[in-house]
Symmetry: C2
Subunit: 285 residues, 2 copies
């Protein structure tokens, strides 16, 4: 497909060019920021770990009392058709389910479902080789187990991050770290144990995959991690669908380990690459 061509989106039951896709101002996302979403990666026309993402999407919707207007199998067919229409190489698919066209601007109506696909730029080899600096911020998301569209705090903090030359902000509450606005957090302890927070987080699909990969070789723990423990960690990294695994080398100005990406982190990233390739190969075959 011509890279300049306009991508198709799926909105309110039909496929249409993305530049024609809009929601009426009465939609509850516009009126009240009310909606849920999910996002997965597509490689070689293959959605990666789609069942996991769909399950989480339906759970988020259910916890917000928003009925998804399609059964899972129908939704899969819509996604398949969208991927085939757009014919992109590496991309991300985002499903947004809003509170619908509300009559009074407050009460939810029949939800609007939007599915978009966009080309995806994965982190550069250079970024992986250098690792990133992060800052911390005390904040707990509303309903952390729901992937809601509410990023009021995450987006407002872009300014704080950039002022401090940080690339991500790690939330904590009462001294216990939780998650990033869009990623999960891991540390590697002195005795090579992988640890990731267990509560007040959105449970990432990449987090789940990394836990499984790590468990083959290392001890893994899902439990509370204090800010102090973060500073003492031998390695630290984040996980997300788009970023896979990114080494963290500095937290609030303190170096993590030697201040360079650690061997366990880089090994797990290789394992994750291999897992993704295997999944794509199995489906494509």
């Amino acid at each position: 497909m011509d890279s300049q061509a306009i991508l198709q989106v799926f909105l309110s039951g039909e496929f249409l060019p993305s530049n024609k896709a809009s929601l009426h101002i009465s939609d509850l996302a516009i009126q009240r920021g009310f909606g849920v979403f999910d996002f997965f990666k597509v490689e070689k026309q293959t959605p990666l770990f789609l069942d996991d993402y769909l399950e989480r999407f339906y759970t988020s919707a259910s916890l917000m009392y928003l009925p998804v207007p399609y059964q899972k199998e129908e939704l899969k067919q819509i996604i398949e058709k969208l991927i085939s229409l757009n014919n992109l190489d590496v991309s991300g698919v985002k499903m947004i389910l809003t509170g619908g066209y509300s009559e009074n601007g407050f009460d939810p109506a029949a939800p609007n479902l939007l599915i978009q696909q966009q080309p995806l730029t994965l982190p550069s080899a250079d970024k992986v080789a250098k690792g990133i600096s992060i800052i911390t911020y005390e904040y707990l998301r509303d309903l952390p187990e729901v992937k809601s569209i509410n990023y009021t705090t995450g987006i407002r903090l872009l300014h704080h991050m950039r002022e401090r030359k940080a690339e991500e902000v790690l939330y904590y509450i009462n001294g216990i770290v939780t998650e990033f606005p869009r990623c999960n957090f891991f540390i590697v302890t002195d005795n090579n144990t992988l640890v990731t927070p267990s509560r007040n987080i959105l449970k990432g699909i990449t987090r789940k995959n990394v836990l499984a990969l790590a468990a083959k070789k290392y001890k893994v723990e899902t439990r509370d991690i204090t800010l102090n423990e973060v500073m003492q960690a031998k390695e630290a990294f984040l996980t997300s669908s788009t970023k896979r695994i990114l080494p963290i080398v500095q937290v609030d100005g303190n170096l993590i380990g030697a201040g360079t990406p650690g061997p366990v982190t880089l090994e797990l990233l290789q394992n994750l690459f291999a897992l993704e390739e295997k999944v794509v190969a199995e489906v494509v075959r």
Copy 2:
């Protein structure tokens, strides 16, 4: 104006019929629930306490790093024109400023400003005479001083409220009550002191007016109120632009005072009516 006619809205620099008003799906309200708003009442073509509302709107926008695309005087003229086009009797005007059409679905762009006007139904005399039942819920809004569009929790709680036959939900944090999703909270103590929370709230314009009216006759305090103090209150009420003053007669199933609207509450409501009439009369004259 014919009540069936389609109202005009102001969006992205132009007036258009509300049924034609939409935002492209890349808007950050749709993608990330990112935006601020404000809302004021219009009677006899007169916006009530407009300067207060505009000041709060600009403050909210500034705290979210969203530049309002108009100076206050220009915005007033746009509002005036909208009111004149729609020619409604009693109405509410809502201004929404979103994070704009974001290229990557996360970074804010030039904000979109939407101004809508809608007919307003004020609380019935019967509701005022009977008072309302409320429930409480532990929650603290992100940035309470900002009127953000994020109502994730407020809207999700509609289900809990309705199950418990309550009409509003009062937030508290660590045993200290704060505000409703869309209203402020007051109690009247045994010695006829008016008390309203001082922190972790959006400071309502009606709250401000009621404080000034009450101070003419009663002792007023802005300070922390515990949940326990609420249950012991002689009277309780909420304030909002659309609801003015509504008596609260039951909290979490406990009667407040005699379980009927109290004399101080009803007196203040009369004073507020009188104030609004005076303001309208002064402008219309």
